[in-house]
Symmetry: C2
């Protein structure tokens, strides 16, 4: 049964009144009404008559994954857009370039909702989808929808620093939850909440989790942990914000003995069954807000994301969007609805399978580089999802840990960072991702690397340099 | 001399720290550095190889203005975009669809800065430009940059209701400034500030003004008033936010005896000289933040605007954008830079001249309809700029004003609204645009109409119906 969660809304969100102008706009387009109510320029004069986009065509399921380019297959998906609607899945330019449709253009929402249904089967009927302009904005709007200054949010103790900055500027309190190499630990979450003293800090309203291919640790929550965390959310009445840009980059366990390119292409059914369960897929109470994004599966500059949640909550987001971003760019909505419409749900799943293949190849290559170049004092655990890998180092193994570095692992981390940078490889120190109020006393530190941004040759060169820098810093040869 | 305005910033904005990740990103793209720092997908796999857009071609300066379509002139401006850069003014898709460039893509900013220079000649050197996703977002970000909850802003006493909603949700106090048919009255502004009691409400930090073709009154501030208001801003130390989406729709005075299509096309110099002076053009202290938008000059769904202000202030906006919207859509930036680059500054000015012509034709037609259909108790003053016209009615002239309507003009306004709606014409009641804390005791009310959204035939039908509704309500025939 879907829960009424209005008691968790921010004062800002509760105070947002419906505009009287909206009551007039419901008459817009009504037969035989001359509507002189809104400052809408006539679409006749939008200076784009036609837009044509050339994209690769499915299937993308060959050995090279999405690396099979149109020039190689000889096929293209051609999206032709006009002011008028031609294909039923297209958003005509006269509409996408006009005001209106804050929640998103119907054709695009239709595709995204069907996609959500196929992937997550949300188990309650009152869910819906709206567009956003990417997960950074979705998160900012989420904070404005739920949190008053001084409110508390639960976060993974290491998390995306930009998400922290978004929240910090809104004067939110952070309650970091301990993690291990498999991500957030449900027992630690429950312990924190059980012992919560609401006279010191308000009880947390929401948990922010990058559950799959976590940034920065690369960890992914198992189905079991997700179920435990969801049950805790129901018991303690908070909302789960699942920020899932990396969800489809689920490469599975690393297998030393198999070359990624030799892994047989799965059927759609096999692919769907292999995906980890989202919080949304177990959300019987409507207390999950899922943030999805085109940034990692199509391109970041699309500035298109979508939010899935119960209708009543999404209505509050739409009221906020009306007076902030309005909606995603019309070019973006027309071009993406056009491409996805032409690919179809099946073609898009082919794309996602091809994308996963691409990342599996890179994850595996990276792991082999780590095996080759890292000294034995470095630990690493090949990620099962996402763009990030970590190398973990125990600062106590440094011969000058107590002397030169005052037994402070962060000082050793900093030394490694600068030594590697000088050697020509940049990886990000893990401590940069610590949540405010972080509590930890381990002597280990880690670096976050990515295999997303560079080709295999660069990965090899970079990791060789990084390994060398560590060896030099620690005075070891192996 | 440009002033340091940091004392006017909000706590949120002052508290925004530079991200440590940014310090790493400065190394991105450096020669011989393998950058494993950022989760940037490779542009090779963005599924858009080529985008081609067909637009009308300059000149647009014929009798029909921008209504001269490519199909009529036989000419098109064709924008071809690729992942790589071909033309120097194009933003290549590999870059626009990637992360980065929060302030906007350099080629687009370059065009917008030159345009700003041509139109406004900002009189201090430290000004700059960043992109936004439209003026609604620019205004939201402006409020977050300057205002703490409880801070005061000055607004025109009738103003865009959505702008009010944006501010209201952030718990801002409103100080409405009295207006007449020429807009905000400088003497009233000064009186308000001179008598301000800061022990009751914080002294205003900013003035929000839609200075040209004001929404909803259609009024435009004269050069003289603007100069007076600017001097008051310097004297009382507040920031002027000029929200100017209608700036280029400056039709000039209505001339009963001339058909708009017969007005000779001005030279670029004549056109530029005919434009009202912006606050930016007189801003010697760097205390104007100008919000510009593509919404009314190209298309609303582009979701592209730009902000002009002193560099130090814009830096605060960029920090906010990094953790909220990131930047405008890459499709938008590539398509608009591509179109404007091909048109050139001159071609774009041709477009603006053509656009003004189009609106002049519609403003004049509307005025003739008002002359024809409105009973004599209705007053109207043809707007010199913008999309909106008003019809002003004295409720005291209603035979049942004191009896049926309790001498309340708003009740008469409401009766006219519903009667016109029933007759098949929707115009917006002026009282819907009253600022919070509005003080007024006149018996007159007004309606806001627009000539933007419909064609001439519809305008004629609608205004005939509206006139008839007023006549019926007031029991007059003329």
């Amino acid at each position: 049964m879907v829960k009424d969660l209005h008691h968790l809304l921010s004062e800002e969100s509760k105070g947002r009144k419906p505009s009287p102008l909206k009551s007039a706009f419901k008459y817009y387009g009504q037969d035989d009404l001359v509507f002189l109510g809104g400052g809408l320029p006539m679409s006749d004069y939008f200076p784009w008559e036609k837009i044509v986009a050339y994209s690769p065509a499915p299937p993308f399921t060959g050995a090279a994954g999405i690396a099979e380019k149109p020039s190689e297959t000889g096929k293209s998906t051609v999206t032709e857009l006009y002011k008028e609607q031609v294909e039923k899945f297209d958003v005509p330019l006269a509409r996408s370039l006009q005001y209106g449709y804050t929640a998103g253009q119907p054709e695009l929402l239709d595709f995204l909702k069907k996609h959500t249904e196929i992937i997550h089967h949300p188990p309650y009927p009152e869910w819906d989808t709206i567009v956003s302009i990417g997960n950074t904005e979705s998160w900012d709007s989420t904070l404005r929808t739920f949190c008053n200054p001084g409110d508390t949010i639960l976060v993974e103790e290491y998390t995306f620093s930009s998400a922290i900055e978004t929240a910090r500027a809104l004067s939110v309190n952070f309650a970091p939850v301990h993690m291990d190499d498999k991500g957030l630990i449900p027992e630690e979450l429950e312990k924190l909440l059980k012992n919560w003293d609401s006279s010191v800090k308000p009880f947390p309203k929401l948990l922010y989790s990058i559950s799959t291919g976590q940034n920065p640790t690369g960890s992914s929550l198992s189905n079991e942990r997700r179920k435990q965390i969801y049950d805790i959310a129901c018991k303690y009445d908070f909302v789960i914000i699942e920020d899932e840009p990396y969800y489809f980059l689920q490469m599975g366990e690393y297998n030393k003995n198999v070359e990624a390119k030799d892994i047989p292409t799965p059927t759609h059914e096999e692919f769907l069954n292999s995906l980890v369960k989202s919080f949304l897929s177990m959300d019987v109470e409507g207390r999950v807000v899922r943030l999805d994004s085109c940034s990692k599966v199509l391109a970041p500059g699309t500035r298109l994301g979508w939010i899935v949640a119960q209708k009543d909550l999404l209505e509050r987001y739409v009221r906020l969007h009306e007076v902030s971003i309005q909606t995603s760019s019309g070019f973006t909505q027309s071009l993406i609805a056009g491409l996805l419409g032409r690919w179809g749900q099946d073609g898009y799943i082919d794309w996602l399978i091809g994308l996963r293949k691409e990342y599996t190849i890179k994850r595996d290559f990276t792991t082999r580089c780590l095996e080759k170049y890292m000294p034995s004092l470095v630990k690493y655990d090949p990620p099962v999802a996402g763009m990030f890998f970590t190398v973990i180092i125990d600062a106590a193994k440094h011969p000058e840990f107590a002397t030169k570095y005052d037994s402070d692992p962060i000082k050793v981390e900093d030394a490694v960072y600068h030594r590697a940078l000088k050697a020509g490889c940049l990886m990000i120190p893990g401590s940069w991702f610590r949540s405010p109020n972080f509590e930890g006393s381990s002597s280990t530190f880690f670096f976050r690397g990515t295999y997303a941004a560079v080709d295999l040759k660069q990965l090899d060169i970079g990791l060789e340099r990084f390994g060398k820098a560590i060896k030099e810093e620690f005075g070891v040869t192996n």
